[in-house]
Amino acid sequence: MAEITSREESKGYQDYEGNKKWLNAHYDPLASLYTFSQCIALSDINADGENKLIIADLGTGTYDMKLKVYRGTSLMSENAIIDLPTGVVTFYMDLTEPRTPAIAVASGSFIYIYKNLRPYFKFTLPSLPIDEKEESAWIQAKDDLIDVSVLREILDGLRSKGVILTVRSMKFLRLPPHELSTFVTLHKNSPLKMQTVVTCLETLKKSHSEDDAISCLVLGTEHLAIYILDPEAFTILTKIDIPAVPVFLSVNGLYDVDYRIVVACRNGAVYSLKRGSEVKKPVFQLSAQPVGLQRIGKNIVVACMDQTLQCYSTKGNKLWLIRMPADILTMEAMEDKQKGFKGVLVGIENHEVHVYRDKYLVNVIKTEDAVTGIKFGKFGREDSTLVMTTKGGSLLIKMLKRTAKFEEKDATTSSGPPASQQQKLNVPKKTKLFVDQTLRERNNCVVMHQQFQHDLYRIRLEAARNYAESLNKSLNPISTNPQEPLKLSVHVNGIGPMFKLIVQLQNTSLNSPSVGLFLTFHFDSSLYSVEKTLIPVPFLVPGLNYTFESYVECKSDKGISDTIKAYLCRRSSSTPIITGIINMPVSESIIVS
């Protein structure tokens, strides 16, 4: 009965338009599954035609980590995992009948392989060389030549120099002082090992592309490498070094023929690795850290921590970018072969899952909680099943209705080109004049170009002349002379016939004050009379704004106006330092009277 009631509970959003495309198959708010998309897989691991749901549950993050397998709505098996899982994939490792895929779980520096739900093999990543100083420090600590505080100092020093330390040293540095010595006595006798950690796990078909062909495992490590493992012998087939820590992989092709691995790194760089090629430059650099990577056809879609979904071509050209209403928690591919639909599912912090085809939002699913893990595929016998896990640990299973259609129109905010762009414009036929002009242009292209160039030079010459003149006469309001770093600006207030000129002066230098300056005005005396024709300027402190004012009266009532020039001069020189040109407004007095 629990089944029925739990299905009812998720009815809250049943009436929401976007949710109507989906059937609620199962909702278990108390599943206590804490996981993310890379740790969810759907596969027919018993070879009985029914896909199972395989989830590596992160538990609390320190204990209770489990590999859980669901058959339909019920939990079928549980296996404890020792370290935090970072990825789960299923793959065919042999050709024995019946064809049962194996499960690979990446956890710590190991890949655990399960077959028929029983532990089958453990692959350990090769250990790496240890920094000599770190090793000798531990040897000294072991022989009691140095005490724990010195050991701590040495290791801390190494770490700040950028040396990559072993896990033991890092754990040691993290401890509070009173626990240091117990830690050292506990661990000092076991050999120090440099072990890397798997960050991401994917599969790559070996030599055939059928759905049930044998696949290699592809994994990325914390120590800047990508490994490709042989599925039968579990040997390393290829190791590729890359410049940053890989966190998301997208793999295409066949190992024996040709393949391409797109790698998103923690620092936002995205690399594209091909069979037999060296890794040099990223294909593109993201503006923020990635939270998901998918290849949809020829495009690379990346979800970023700055609330954006971005799409790039394989060459690294940005094709589009969409902003999400809140933080993106996860992103997964969605492919429905029957409907011919390819898109991405984006789990967003605001309790929504968005479905994008290309850059178009085609569906919004509202959920009770923020979705952190998504997988779309065949579950049980249903091909288009959406499995979601949430922040609060609940499990949601939805099935796409057979009749559901994804149309761009039902998006709440369609960001595509408007429909009018599709309409054909009524372009008139070419006129005779147009044809004549085209002919003329075609015949006289050289002359026309020369004429254009000639005129262009003349314009440039004219501009240069005027510029030189203004420099000579100091006609501009900002001084071009580095000895006189001054700025002048003039405003006119009032409507006439009485105006007020406001002159602002600023010394733009850092620390050389200006002295011995005065302001004067040049104007048509038949038109204007200026109250103060000469204003002595005091000592100008650098950076401050000085304001000077003078009244101007317009003598004419014929509605004409002229320019007044404000000069800033030095007593010793006859050319002004800077000039401000004021276009006087027409005196309004005539209109008023």
């Binding site: 609620n24 339909g72 709505t73």
Partner: protein, 193 residues
Amino acid sequence: MGIFSKLAEWLGVKRKECNIVVVGLDNSGKTTILNKLKPDDSQTSDIVPTIGFNVENFSSKSLQFNAFDMSGQGRYRNLWEHYYKDCQGVIFVIDSADKLRMPVAKDELDQLIQHPDLVSKRVPVLFFANKMDHRDALSSVKCSTLLKLDEISNKPWHICASNAITGEGLDEGVNWLSDQIKSYLRDLERRRR
């Protein structure tokens, strides 16, 4: 119908014929059920997922059935509706062990009930809650609650738990369906006159 077959029918030598559609999700056991309903000598032992549809014939005490065994796979489900027009009965097979897909079965059933070719007809609908022998099988009562069968108002319906491998429950269902179809046909004839 020719005069001879009419006569034969009246004399009870030849049974009345009727068309039924057999639908339900893939793997629910439609083909297995129809196979079991056929005379022993014409049953096959290997049953494969149906592609498109097959026409099977079997008979009850009083009726001769032409059954359209539709494929339940998603990509063929759009074929179902083309056979609704000329059918006098529906068998809807439910895999009672497939709890997960009950909502999918319900969605398909809703579409069937509301289809223009069926919505106004009083066509009898027989449900088989099949695979009752399965460990995780839901009871027929639970199946009818999940599919909300009580909301079907204008059609006679009946649900039987069944096991298509042993044949358990099949006769009960087919007898009910025969009776219903006969009265449905009588009704139609009366109305035509």
